[in-house]
Symmetry: C2
């Protein structure tokens, strides 16, 4: 299997297309890295970029993009609806294929250190990379936003993990961290009774006592006159799609309702789907290297 | 999705490692082509090579390997147990990802024409590439073997599709053709009653009135004290794994027997497994481009 990670940096500029194109070019120019997508939001004045590739090349591309963003974006002039604290606001690193979370954490430390030392930007490690409990949640780190960061950095328990102890007034502060990929998975039920979707969503989500790595809501799909359990699977390796699907189906039957379909929104790792096939076919000893396309990428 | 085909040429030399290494090097030297496997058989005096890659690059690698084989292997000296008719005996081209069978047929014609014209070797198109009904089956083409080819080529209905109408005494005759990948799929049953495996195998295989693209036998797995339905799925796009699996499970239940596991032997295209996940999750509008690794290969 090829070693692949994904990187989804958020930049605090969503209106100037030429500027964003220059940042994207920094990523495009790195070999063995593939720019998959970017979306500029004018109201948020923020751009989310998605790219994947060989781990060391991905963090090189992330560093180069962050460096150019620090030159081109001035946080003193930034306004927008989305909470933000830096020109490069956050850089998540996500294991996709043949890379462990532990390796992603090490990569995030390498990247954070380089941003801190070479670009003189305070860096917080978050999520799986967090070294302190109150840095796991990005919202906690970002609280106060750019305008509050000069004060926040002076607090004992908000010293950055890398870089200077004071604000870089031009570039702000950047969070870097490893996290699992999100899989957006929705299951459609053959009823217009929203209560059933809500009850099932509650029973399967972690906060209701359900699966630890599943967030779920019950919603209406009015144009089809049906309801849906809409989910974010936040660790498909530990809470796999098939297990949640089976429970939804069983719970729905308890109300005399059928699952009429499901959908996956956006991108997901091959492993998430292979695990489904593996489960339902009851495969013994199936190895992802048996997939021809995986061998092509080695 | 990346465009990928597989090529599995068979060479009439299975004892001389140095010679085979030279042929493999011709394949290894072509960019965007990946040598996956080769197996030399001394008794058959034959080597089967597996490689994949970008379609035009794969047929270039196949041509180069065939050319060197025609220089290094002399069929007048070849002995071995496996039926054979040429130094490069057969070159199957197999669609794996984002390539149609029709495109593979065109590629086989391009490759066959080049082998015929540039190497002066008679070439028969077989399987999906066959232009005459009695050339679909490779065994029919190869009947008479190398020793009988000089006569066979003189027959009106055995004129080659490309190359000279007479035998290349040194290199023999080569068959080139497009075919689907085989998926070797076995389902284990929780019983030692071989009759049940045999009855189920008969009911699902084409020859017994079952699925058109499924070959199946019932066998014993003595070391586990169970029986197995062992299958060759010869077109997983038309007879998918999940459909055959479901029928086996239902038929087994009719005898009070459970499916205890299954296995896939060797390599298979990602699409064969995605179809399984798609089916059991009842996905609506799932596209293989949603797989991150597939996007990496574009």
């Amino acid at each position: 299997m090829a070693r692949i990670i994904q990187c989804v940096p958020n930049f605090s500029e969503g209106r100037n297309k030429d500027l964003i194109e220059k940042i994207l070019d920094e990523i495009r120019m790195v070999d063995e890295v593939k720019l998959l997508d970017y979306s500029m939001d004018k109201d948020h004045n923020r751009t989310v970029v998605t790219f994947i590739g060989e781990p060391e090349k991905v963090i090189l591309a992330a560093f180069k993009a962050c460096k150019l963003a620090s030159e081109l974006i001035d946080m003193r002039e930034h306004t927008g609806e989305h909470p933000r604290m830096g020109a490069t606001d956050v850089i998540p690193l996500i294991p996709i294929s043949d890379v462990t979370m532990e390796e992603c954490v090490l990569l995030s430390e390498e990247l954070g250190k380089r941003i801190g030392e070479e670009l003189d930007i305070p860096v917080y490690l978050y999520e799986k990379s967090a070294r302190l409990l109150d840095r796991e949640n990005l919202a906690d780190i970002r609280r106060g936003q750019y305008e509050g960061m000069a004060e926040k950095l002076k607090e004992e328990n908000w010293r950055p993990d890398f870089g200077p102890n004071e604000l870089n007034v031009r570039s702000g502060v950047t969070a870097v961290g490893a996290r699992m990929p999100l899989v957006a998975f929705n299951v459609n039920l053959g009823t217009d009774n929203i209560d059933i979707a809500k009850k099932i969503a509650k029973s399967i989500r972690a906060s209701g006592g359900g699966f630890k790595y599943c967030k779920a809501l019950g919603i209406e799909i009015k144009e089809r006159n049906i309801v849906q359990v809409t989910m974010n699977m936040i660790d498909y390796t530990k809470t796999p799609l098939f297990r949640v699907f089976d429970v939804i189906e069983r719970e729905a039957k308890r109300y005399g309702v059928n699952v009429v379909g499901s959908e996956i929104i956006g991108l997901l790792p091959m492993g998430a789907m292979l695990a489904v096939a593996d489960y339902y076919l009851r495969l013994e000893n199936f190895n992802h290297d048996q997939i021809l396309e995986a061998r092509m990428m080695e």
